[in-house]
């Protein structure tokens, strides 16, 4: 048995007659960044939606290997993938809680932990010391992440009022606040300028190296993909057409063909 963090085996997703993902197998390592690339409509986001429980895969299996257990993600429905398996994700179009403050966004991410500490609200109503302590810890964790992305001074502002680039970063650290094993990022660099993309790269490398979290990345921005990916999986029409290192991918004739078409 391989010791990869994520093993996707023969994953298939059909919408009626449309085969969005066709018998896809790939794996992702712990403390590695695995990029999934491919032309528009290749089925990248569908892979994410299957992994994170938003879709029920038609066939195949997705195993998440933790220290001493092997979980099949197909058995978890939507929110349980995050709660029980520790798979976090971000979205192509940012999904923050825009009218809640930046700090509150990060506190919601720590909901399950705090909910237990608040004794399903009853202990919390009476300000039990154990709950107050846990809550303060959660604030400290939030503050730690805000310091990393440099947004501590805006902690009490509405998340919706942040500039676009900061919202992207906030969504990523919000996902990190659930303390995931695997972080799935859906086009985190979309709409960022060069400086912001560079900051994003730094943040992702930090998460990979310091937090030992596996990262699965869908991205169109090749500067991000080439610079930080350890491993690249290329999809086209729901099928895997290539996998390998970033450098190999760049020179692969199949990949060039998928993106640019063949010369006739």
């Amino acid at each position: 048995m391989s010791q990869k963090l994520l093993d996707v085996e023969n994953l298939t997703m059909k919408f009626g007659g449309l085969v969005a993902i066709d018998n896809l197998s790939f794996s992702a390592d712990k403390d590695k960044i695995t990029s999934i690339i491919g032309p528009n409509g290749a089925g990248k986001t569908t892979v994410f939606n299957c992994l994170t429980g938003f879709y029920k895969a038609t066939a195949g299996s997705m195993f998440l290997n933790k220290e001493n257990e092997r979980l099949n993600l197909r058995k978890f429905s939507d929110f349980k993938v995050a709660q029980k398996a520790g798979v976090a994700r971000t979205f192509q179009n940012i999904r923050l809680f825009p009218q809640m403050s930046v700090l509150e966004n990060l506190m919601v991410a720590q909901h399950n932990k705090l909910m237990d500490a608040s004794g399903f609200t009853i202990l919390g109503l009476f300000n039990s010391p154990s709950f107050v302590k846990k809550e303060r810890e959660a604030v400290e964790i939030s503050k730690y992440w805000l310091d990393i992305i440099g947004l501590t001074h805006r902690a009490d502002d509405d998340a919706g009022d942040l500039p676009y680039g900061d919202q992207r970063k906030l969504e990523i650290v919000r996902a990190m606040c659930i303390n995931p094993h695997l972080l799935c990022l859906d086009e985190p660099a979309a709409g960022l300028n060069a400086k912001e993309s560079a900051e994003l790269n730094k943040l992702l490398l930090f998460i990979k190296n310091e937090k030992k979290t596996g990262i699965l990345l869908i991205e169109h921005d090749m500067s991000v993909v080439m610079e930080i990916s350890d491993h690249v999986v290329v999809l086209n029409y729901g099928k895997k057409i290539f996998q390998g290192s970033a450098k190999e991918t760049k020179n692969s004739p199949e990949v060039i063909e998928a993106y640019l078409g063949t010369e006739e």
Partner: protein
């Protein structure tokens, strides 16, 4: 520029006059009178003419003085802005003043029976508004059948009190639990619904409960209603003018003259305390993880799922807790009226409570109070004008929506702030 503006204003007001003529001509102008079993038309063109002139001139004047961009110092900008500013910054002071005022209210010199009754009614609506604020304002679930829980609370209180003779303080929590159970009952089928669809189903639920109460004659006495619901006692001391032999009543125990106002004042403080408990509970629970999850669910359900927040449990608790406070308010209503029938729980009640929450500013506790005072107060002031008071009610809503489109108090304060929690 000035001349052109003048011309468009004249045109606009002539057009307004035309619309007024089209509307009021047939409605007011052509009055039909039944005479000798024949329907005759009695035209009243003078009145129509007056109405049309008033509309046209009124439109001309508002064009000139209110909507004129060159005169931005008009009514809307100066008075409106200062009121808006006052409401936005002084929410806390308004709340404190209101609480102090409501505590001393029964002993103010001008307070009489009539005012007390209105105050009790307002407080009931405030409590219902605060309860519904959990469901609509925090969790963002548009519930148009809230009156169902009010009814469940009232009927369960009445039935337990009549058949088992239990006291108010025992029946109150039971009524709350019953209402909460009905909240969960409603919650389950609507878990996947949002927005308009949810509103329709909850509306139907409210009607179902009312029709059930109307038709389950053996239990609820149907349209006859339940009579003889026990009045609340002052911790075991009843309010009675002529006590039975050897019975302690409120006035004999405290050695004061009997006065029917004593019971009213007691009821007033009872609903005040119940309402304040609802308020404190909501303020507190908003800062707990569950409250934050409610608000997150209102903002984005998909993001909540991606963070491992269980949307089912979160929604059900919102429904249950909101319903529980509705049930408490219902038992108070039953004990105050001593008579309840399905007529008291019609859709218009739900609509008024939703209006209070929305106009007050979704999620704002003080906003609910201001909206209640404004709307219910206005209905009361116009009571002598009978059916015109609904026009006043509608007018009040329109005014609020014009001047405060996001509700009277729309500012939201974060439930936790970095400065406060780190300076602790």
């Amino acid at each position: 520029m000035e001349k052109k503006f003048f011309q468009t204003s004249i045109k606009d007001s002539l057009f307004t006059g035309l619309i007024a003529l089209a509307l009021f001509g047939p409605i007011v102008g052509l009055r039909t009178v039944a005479k000798n079993e024949v329907l005759e038309v009695h035209p009243k063109w003078l009145i129509v003419l007056i109405i049309v002139i008033v509309c046209a001139v009124g439109r001309f004047l508002t064009n000139l003085y209110v909507y004129n961009r060159d005169q931005k110092t008009g009514i809307q900008s100066s008075i409106g802005k200062s009121i808006s500013n006052f409401l936005d910054t002084k929410g806390y002071q308004i709340a404190l003043t209101a609480i102090i005022f409501s505590v001393i209210f029964p002993f103010l010199p001008f307070t009489d029976r009539y005012l007390m009754d209105i105050a009790i009614m307002m407080l009931t609506y405030i409590m219902l508004g605060w309860g519904l604020n959990i469901v609509i304002g925090l969790a963002g679930l548009l519930d148009l059948g809230y009156v169902a829980f009010y009814a469940v609370g009232a009927y369960s209180y009445a039935l337990f009190a009549i058949h088992f003779g239990w006291s108010f303080w025992i029946c109150l929590p039971i009524a709350g639990i019953f209402a909460a159970m009905f909240g969960v009952l409603l919650g389950f089928p609507v878990l996947r619904l949002r927005g308009d669809y949810l509103a329709i189903v909850t509306l139907a639920f409210g009607e179902m409960i009312r029709i059930l109460l109307l038709n389950w004659y053996q239990l609820t006495k149907g349209p006859d209603g339940l009579t003889g619901i026990p009045r609340p006692s002052f911790f075991g001391l009843p309010f009675k003018s002529f006590p039975d032999e050897g019975e302690q009543t409120f006035h004999t125990f405290f050695g004061v003259e009997y006065d029917p106002m004593q019971r009213i004042i007691f009821l007033y403080y009872l609903i005040l305390v119940l309402a304040l408990i609802t308020n404190l509970f909501t303020i507190k629970i908003r800062r707990l993880p569950i409250g934050r999850a409610w608000e997150a669910l209102r903002e984005d359900e998909i993001a909540c799922k991606s963070l491992g927040v269980n949307p089912r449990n979160t929604k059900l608790t919102a429904f249950a807790i909101g319903a529980m406070f509705g049930g408490f308010a219902g038992s108070f209503f039953a004990t105050r009226q001593a008579f309840i029938s399905p007529e008291s729980f019609t859709f218009i009640e739900s609509a008024i409570i939703v209006a209070i929450v929305v106009l007050g500013g979704m999620g704002s506790q003080t906003g609910v109070v201001l909206a209640t005072v404004f709307l219910i107060g206005l209905i009361e002031v116009f009571r002598d004008f009978e059916s015109y008071r609904m026009i006043a009610f509608g007018g009040a809503m329109v005014l609020i929506m014009i001047f405060r489109p996001r509700g009277i108090l729309a500012t939201r304060k974060p439930t936790i702030t970095l400065e406060k929690s780190s300076s602790k």
